[in-house]
């Protein structure tokens, strides 16, 4: 997603916007920012240390962070406001959002979704990270939100579904033609597995919280075909 965001890391008013509504995934976003040289390796290496701009959740003072997130359910409404401003500008930019499926529990997500459809926010693309997990359990057990994609479609969104681990499929979905969208905002339902590729982690709730032991770290990297960095 990050390479698609025009003007990433600048404050140019006409740039694209990216909203990591699931702010707890900031570590992944920091990696992307570093790969794209929006932040340098030295800054990236300060993650979680004293006096670092890289915390568990994104801080608005970090380049490449358009909006502070971390309180679930706030990101989508920021993006809708940006999309409405983009529509008014006459030279619209794109707004990308990564939304957690647990944010579907938040009432304000639905407020924002209705507003986006009503105001024809067609420059808004939301990737729903449908990993089926939330803080205390599986989504189907905590609060069943499986009707959400159909509900978005019924509200006037264009809804696509992809394998969230298939980067080509995600790229194709994000690149959908404006004619197909016909003025509608776009929800991409990305089916994912938390902990993908590491057997002892995959789809296990506790790995939302637990630190790895050294042995688990080595074993996880081996499964992913990586070697520990120096």
């Amino acid at each position: 997603m990050a390479p698609r965001v025009r003007g990433l890391g600048t404050r140019d008013p006409g740039r694209d916007r990216f909203v990591l509504s699931k702010g707890h995934a900031a570590m992944a976003w920091y990696g992307a920012l570093c790969e794209l040289h929006v932040i340098d390796d030295e800054l990236h290496a300060t993650y979680g240390q004293d006096d670092s701009l890289l915390g568990t959740h994104p801080d608005p003072e970090l380049p490449g962070v358009d909006f502070m997130t971390g309180s679930l359910g706030q990101g989508l409404s920021y993006a809708v406001g940006s999309a409405m401003a983009a529509n008014l500008s006459g030279n619209p930019w794109s707004i990308y959002v990564v939304l957690s499926d647990s944010e579907l529990d938040e009432g304000v997500t639905w407020e924002a979704a209705l507003i986006a459809a009503h105001h024809r926010c067609s420059t808004l693309t939301v990737v729903l990270d449908l990993n089926g997990q939330q803080a205390l359990g599986y989504t189907r057990d905590v609060l069943d939100t499986s009707a959400a994609p159909a509900a978005f479609a019924a509200m006037g969104w264009h809804v696509s579904e992809v394998d969230g681990h298939d980067v080509d499929a995600l790229n194709a979905a994000v690149s959908l033609d404006a004619e197909v969208l016909a003025g509608r905002p776009h929800l991409i339902v990305a089916k994912t597995s938390a902990g993908k590729g590491v057997r002892f982690m995959e789809r296990r709730i506790e790995w939302h919280y637990l630190p790895m032991t050294e042995a688990q770290y080595t074993s996880a990297l081996a499964e992913l075909g990586e070697t520990p960095s120096a």
Partner: protein, 301 residues
């Protein structure tokens, strides 16, 4: 007062297309002219106050100047976390307009009373609070809010006070026995109390605090230092409002003035009535307060 504020905003908006007026589906008869005349700058987001502030945050980040309008409990209290994490954290020029400050919506009951908004707003760094007393104040302060960078909260009464306000920031400090500081529509009550105190031959002065920002503590200190007893009058809970702001200044700057707070202590559920009925129900009688102030004067004791 709300009409004066919105008419002033419309005047600003005619000259500046970045100004957006958002409402969460309230403002019947108040926002109609703005909506008709400036349709591209008006959005009714529906009854969705949290999303309204979130949308305003996204708009402000993109360079627009959004104003979010509703009854104060809905535009300020309900989306408070959105205000905190949005305009306040990002230092964005979003202005929240809250109508019905205090118990203005007296017949509507506690759900419609904004009596802790000042406590919440004062806690936020960089959030400027405006509390007009008269329609003229509302016009001036809407304009001032528009010229200041950063977020603002304008707490509006339904009706402006008929008597001009004496702004603590504009008035020169003067020695007085009793200083009465008022918030918003508390000014009329402040004058009623001051008149009774004056009748006992005690010198009184009534001023209003129209702004809470980085200068307010200095404003308060300058005037408090000239008084023997201070009464704060506010249609707000006892904790966190004007009285607390004065107490902070008195304690931290070591000012030798006795403070009496006229504020709401009880939970305001139960019987409703006219604005005057509800204020009388929730506040001490004016005569009691006047006698209390006089009794606290060192020379009288």
């Amino acid at each position: 007062m709300r009409n004066a504020a919105i008419n002033e905003l419309a005047e600003l908006a005619r000259a500046d297309s970045r100004i957006m007026l958002l409402t969460a589906d309230l403002g019947f008869g108040v926002l109609d002219n703005f909506a008709r005349e400036l349709p591209k700058q008006f959005v009714n987001v529906g009854v969705a106050e949290q999303a309204m502030v979130g949308v305003a945050t996204g708009m402000a980040e993109a360079g627009l100047l959004p104003y979010c309008y509703s009854i104060a409990t809905f535009s300020f209290l309900r989306p408070f976390e959105f205000i905190r994490n949005g305009p306040v954290a990002h230092r964005l020029p979003v202005t929240i307009m809250g109508v019905g400050a205090g118990t203005d919506y007296s017949f509507d009951g506690m759900t419609h009373y904004a009596i802790e908004d000042l406590a919440m707003a004062r806690s936020q760094p960089g959030l400027t609070i405006y509390a007009p007393v008269t329609d003229d104040d509302a016009r001036v302060l809407v304009r001032e809010a528009g010229e200041r960078p950063g977020p603002a909260y304008i707490r509006l009464n339904r009706q402006g006070s008929p008597r001009p306000s004496q702004d603590i920031r504009a008035e020169q400090p003067q020695q007085t026995d009793v200083l009465v500081l008022a918030l918003g529509n508390g000014q009329e009550r402040a004058h009623a109390i001051a008149e009774r105190v004056h009748d006992s031959g005690v010198q009184t002065r009534v001023l209003s605090v129209l702004r809470f920002d980085e200068q307010t503590a200095d404003d308060l200190a300058a005037h408090l230092a000239q008084a023997k007893v201070c009464l704060t009058v506010e249609d707000h809970y006892q904790v966190g409002g004007l009285g607390s702001a004065a107490a902070d200044v008195i304690a931290t700057r070591g000012i030798g003035v006795r403070l009496v707070k006229d504020a709401i202590a009880a939970l305001p559920v139960g019987r409703i009535g006219s604005p005057q009925f509800v204020i009388n129900k929730l506040h001490r009688p004016v005569d009691d307060l006047a006698a209390d102030l006089v009794s606290r004067l060192p020379s009288v004791r």
